[in-house]
C-alpha cells in the first residue's frame, strides 16, 4: 500500500525531466492549460503588448512617409487603407482596449485593491486573490475590447464618424 516513488510508476520522459527541473521555457509561458482565466489574461496581456509595440513601430514608420510629400503619403495610404488594413486595425483596436482595461485591473491589483483579505489556505486551496472581482475585470476587458472593435468597424466600414 501507499504511494510508490514516481520512478517505479512511470518511466521518465523528456517532458517529465523538463517539468521536474521547473524549466518549461517559452512553452510554459504560452501554455494556458492547467490554469484558469487569470493565466489566459496573463499571456493575452503580454501578447497584446508585444503586438501593440510592433504596430507602434510600424505606425511611426508609416507616418514618416509624410515628410516625403503627398505622393509618398498617398502610396502608403493605398497600402494601409484597404479591407485587409482595416481588419488589421480592428485587431489593433481590440488589443489596445483589452491591454488598457486589463492593465488598469493589474494596477489596482498591485495596489492591493480587489484581491480580498488573506485567508487560511483550506481545501480546495483556491487563492482568495483569484476572486470574482478579478475574473469580472478580465471579462469586462474582453467585453469592452469587443465593443471597441464593433465601433471601430462601423467607423472604418460604415458611415459612423
Amino acid at each position: 500500500m501507499g504511494i510508490k516513488p514516481n520512478s517505479e510508476n512511470n518511466s521518465s520522459t523528456g517532458d517529465d525531466i523538463r517539468l521536474k527541473s521547473g524549466r518549461e521555457g517559452l512553452m510554459g509561458w504560452l501554455n494556458p492549460t492547467r490554469y484558469g482565466w487569470e493565466r489566459v489574461s496573463y499571456w493575452l496581456q503580454r501578447l497584446t503588448g508585444v503586438g501593440l509595440l510592433i504596430y507602434f513601430i510600424g505606425h511611426i514608420y508609416e507616418t514618416s512617409s509624410l515628410v516625403n510629400g503627398i505622393n509618398a503619403w498617398n502610396s502608403m495610404l493605398e497600402l494601409t487603407q484597404t479591407t485587409g488594413g482595416h481588419i488589421f486595425l480592428l485587431l489593433v483596436i481590440g488589443a489596445s482596449t483589452f491591454h488598457t482595461v486589463n492593465g488598469l485591473r493589474l494596477i489596482f491589483t498591485e495596489s492591493g485593491i480587489g484581491i480580498g483579505r488573506p485567508g487560511r489556505p483550506d481545501y480546495p486551496y483556491d487563492a482568495t486573490s483569484l476572486n470574482y472581482k478579478q475574473k469580472s475585470g478580465i471579462w469586462v476587458a474582453l467585453l469592452l475590447a469587443t465593443i471597441a472593435m464593433l465601433y471601430g468597424g462601423m467607423v472604418m466600414f460604415g458611415d459612423v464618424t
Partner: protein, 117 residues
C-alpha cells in the same frame, strides 16, 4: 551592479504612469481622426494641418515618448521573465534602451519635419 540605478518598483511606477498617460493622449489622438469622416481625416493636407497645430505636435511627442517607454519596458519585463542572470539583464536593458531612443529619435524627426511642411 544593476545597469540602471532605479529600483524595479520605481521602474514599475514609471511603467504604470506612462501607460495611464498614454491612454488619455492616444484617446485625443484618435478623436482627431474622428472629427471628420475617417478617410478624409487621413488626406495629406488634413494631416499636415494637424502638424501645424503646436498643441497637437506636443501631444504627438508626448505619445511617442510615453508609449516608447511603456512599450519597451514591457518588452524588457517579458524578456526578463524568461531568463534571469546579470549578463542577460544588462544586455536586454541596453538593447531595449537603444531601441527606445532610436524610435523616439525617428518619430521626433517626422514630427519636426512634418510641422515645417
Amino acid at each position: 551592479m544593476p545597469l540602471l540605478k532605479l529600483r524595479e518598483s520605481q521602474i514599475m511606477k514609471i511603467h504604470y504612469l506612462t501607460g495611464i498617460c498614454a491612454v488619455f493622449f492616444v484617446a485625443i489622438h484618435i478623436l482627431f481622426r474622428l472629427i471628420m469622416p475617417f478617410g478624409q481625416s487621413l488626406e495629406f493636407h488634413n494631416v499636415v494641418a494637424n502638424y501645424h497645430n503646436i498643441y497637437y505636435v506636443i501631444l504627438l511627442e508626448l505619445i511617442l515618448v510615453f508609449i516608447s517607454i511603456h512599450g519597451f519596458n514591457g518588452l524588457r519585463i517579458i524578456l526578463l521573465e524568461l531568463k534571469q542572470n546579470q549578463w542577460w539583464e544588462s544586455t536586454i536593458t541596453i538593447l531595449v534602451l537603444a531601441a527606445m531612443i532610436g524610435v523616439i529619435a525617428y518619430g521626433t524627426r517626422t514630427i519636426i519635419i512634418g510641422s515645417q511642411l
